[in-house]
């Protein structure tokens, strides 16, 4: 400990023997750290935005279906309401909420046009906790209860059908007994959730949909949210135990593209970190080698005075550790300052059409978590200190007499 107390101030003072060189190296480390953190924040925001948009539309953290529904999402693959065992598992503490739905393909017809859609029968009260659609109603109202006979459709679909709130549309679906069922329903609300969803999903009350389809109380799916995503695997396993005849799938299986984007984001950040670190390491090692070369005589003197070679290695490594440490702190502060103005979101309006195709929301929320900043900062710091071993070892390698004669 007393050795560190001796070497730390010495290392710090040594850094400032050449302030210009130290400041340039600090700038390199700070900018490198800043770029890694900004890159990570943006990619996280992209991945999280894409994920949240998808999960908060209908997917949730996971879903239960009758066997075969995911391959053929038709009325023929329906399931009964949850029995006591499954209900207990769904009401357990790790599950934040769950809803029952009917979800089948159908055709909607206005007086002008016909479009294929997915009819979703919902329990409105439950959907408010699980889905963003009730909050995204931009005209009219959301559904009031499971028996609500109205429909809520996407703004874009309404434009394509050339219809509007208050008008009736004809909905055609294949009923449970195989015949083609049709019903005239009144549009009570329009929602805005991005074009793929707006064009596809048409919402009505669960009871209305079950009645139209002749399903009785049977369902197409149950969607659930967990309180802590770290517990998702455990929750899925518990649900599978409680309902062995059903398909229980986490969101990663239900939305593989979203999961891939999120995974890619993580790897891209690591690749960027490695690229930036390599550039930083080249600069740092070069600077430290120059500094060590200039101070060979001094390292010889320190050995002559009784410093052991490993203490000299420690001193040079401490110099790098301090230099990179300050650079990482500065880079982190810079990144936090850069991201602060976007605390309430970064409007991607100019990219919105492309963003929607990727399942992105229009507003990104690039944020820098404390744990993530510390993790990336620590990785950069540790790698840089590791890279400094080379100049440090070369500082201690020369015999004192040879070093002092230089």
């Amino acid at each position: 400990m007393h050795l560190l107390a001796l070497l730390l101030p010495l290392s710090w003072r040594n850094l400032w023997r050449n302030p210009r060189r130290t400041l340039i190296t600090l700038a390199v480390v700070a900018i490198g750290t800043w770029s890694v953190l900004i890159f990570a924040a943006l990619f996280n925001a992209l991945a999280t935005g894409s994920r949240d948009t998808t999960l908060r539309l209908l997917t949730g953290h996971g879903q239960l279906h009758a066997a075969g529904y995911l391959e053929d999402p038709s009325v023929s693959h329906s399931m009964a309401r949850p029995g006591p065992a499954l209900r207990r598992a769904l009401d357990a503490q790790p599950v934040a909420g769950w809803v029952e739905r009917v979800r089948v393909p159908g055709i909607v017809q206005s007086e002008y046009r016909t479009r294929s859609v997915t009819l979703v029968g919902v329990v409105p009260q439950g959907e408010r906790a699980l889905s963003d659609v009730p909050r995204e109603v931009i005209a009219g109202r959301y559904l009031a209860d499971p028996a609500d006979p109205g429909v809520v459709m996407g703004r874009d679909l309404a434009e394509r059908l050339k219809t509007r709130i208050g008008k009736r549309v004809i909905l055609m679906v294949q009923a449970a007994d195989g015949h083609l069922a049709e019903s005239g329903l009144t549009i009570v609300g329009l929602y805005a959730a991005g074009k793929p969803a707006e064009d596809e999903f048409l919402f009505t009350g669960l009871g209305t949909a079950q009645s139209l389809l002749g399903l009785g109380e049977r369902l197409s799916e149950i969607s659930f949210l967990v309180r802590d995503e770290a517990a998702l695997t455990e929750v899925v396993a518990e649900l599978r135990r409680a309902a062995p005849g059903l398909d229980v799938a986490p969101w990663m299986e239900l939305a593989p593209l979203v999961y891939t984007i999120e995974t890619f984001g993580r790897y891209y950040t690591i690749v960027w970190l490695l690229v930036m670190f390599t550039l930083m390491a080249i600069g740092l090692v070069n600077t430290q080698l120059m500094a060590v070369f200039e101070r060979q005589r001094e390292f010889g003197l320190l050995q002559a005075l009784g410093m052991r070679p490993r203490q000299i290695v420690l001193q040079v490594v401490l110099e790098s550790a301090l230099l990179v440490g300050v650079g990482v702190l500065a880079g982190t502060a810079l990144a936090a300052a850069t991201l602060a103005p976007f605390h309430h979101g970064l409007d991607l309006g100019f990219l919105a059409p492309g963003a929607e195709i990727m399942g992105e929301s229009r507003i990104l929320h690039p944020a820098l978590g404390a744990a993530e900043s510390v993790r990336y900062g620590a990785i950069i710091w540790l790698l840089a200190v590791g890279a400094a071993l080379w100049p440090a070892l070369s500082a201690a390698a020369a015999r004192p007499a040879a070093a002092m004669s230089r």
């Binding site: 007393h2 050795l3 001796l6 010495l10 003072r13 040594n14 023997r17 001094e298 010889g300 003197l301 320190l302 050995q303 002559a304 005075l305 009784g306 410093m307 052991r308 070679p309 490993r310 203490q311 015999r399 004192p400 007499a401 040879a402 002092m404």
Partner: protein
């Protein structure tokens, strides 16, 4: 009593490309405890090389060196550093101070490596600076000291740990007469008072005049080794 330095057939040959340049050619030398010896000779005669191999700063090509009866030939770099830390003080021709430390911190440096407690360390470092006449300049960094003052700090640094042996290489070479005289007197006083052994490589006749033993080297060999009564400083 075991001599503090014993050199037996010490050789040191440098290679410059394909050419072998012998710097020491079979040096046999014994220095007793408490000696105040000077080592003289023309440039290139091997004085600095001999001090380097005795202090473990360099390794001999052949022969054996014993410090306090212990051979240092088999010691690794860390063990040699440990030996220097505990036994040997160095004073070099150029002032060789650590530029980012103050005079006091330079003197304290070895004491801190030795793990001497803070209060004792500060007291000893201040006393050493006082002994070399630098009281009041403790907080100055080397760049704000004159050459003579820097050399005195180097002497104080060598003496503060109370080593058994001080190896000094041309310690007065960059000093004016007054400073050189004061430094010689200081080394003599410490030799007399503390029994520290001094081996001083020098051209300076004033230093030689005050030594009790004078050794001459020529072409890597000892050509004269005589004892005398030193002149008063």
């Amino acid at each position: 009593m075991t001599p503090i330095i014993q050199c037996r057939g010490v050789e040191r040959t440098y290679t410059q490309g394909a050419v072998a340049v012998p710097a020491l050619r079979g040096v046999d030398l014994t220095i007793g405890r408490g000696d105040f010896a000077t080592l003289a000779g023309p440039s290139g005669s091997g004085k600095t090389t001999l001090l380097s191999v005795i202090g473990g700063l360099d390794r001999p090509s052949a022969g054996e060196i014993l410090i306090e009866g212990r051979s240092i030939g088999g010691l690794d770099a860390a063990q040699l550093a440990e030996l220097r830390l505990h036994k040997i003080g160095f004073v070099f021709q150029s002032y060789s101070l650590i530029p980012v430390l103050t005079a006091l911190e330079n003197v304290e440096f070895i004491l801190r490596l030795l793990g001497v407690p803070r209060a004792e360390r500060l007291a000893r470092a201040r006393e050493a600076l006082h002994q070399v006449g630098l009281a009041g300049l403790e907080d100055r960094r080397p760049a704000r000291l004159s050459g003579g003052q820097q050399q005195r700090v180097a002497v104080a640094r060598a003496l503060a740990p109370r080593p058994a042996l001080v190896l000094a290489d041309e310690p007065t070479a960059n000093l004016d007469s007054a400073n050189a005289g004061e430094l010689i007197a200081l080394m003599q006083d410490l030799n007399a008072a503390s029994g520290i052994t001094f081996l001083i490589a020098t051209h300076d006749a004033r230093v030689i005049a005050h030594s009790r033993r004078h050794i001459e080297m020529t072409d890597g060999r000892i050509t004269l080794d005589e004892s005398s009564s030193p002149a008063a400083a």
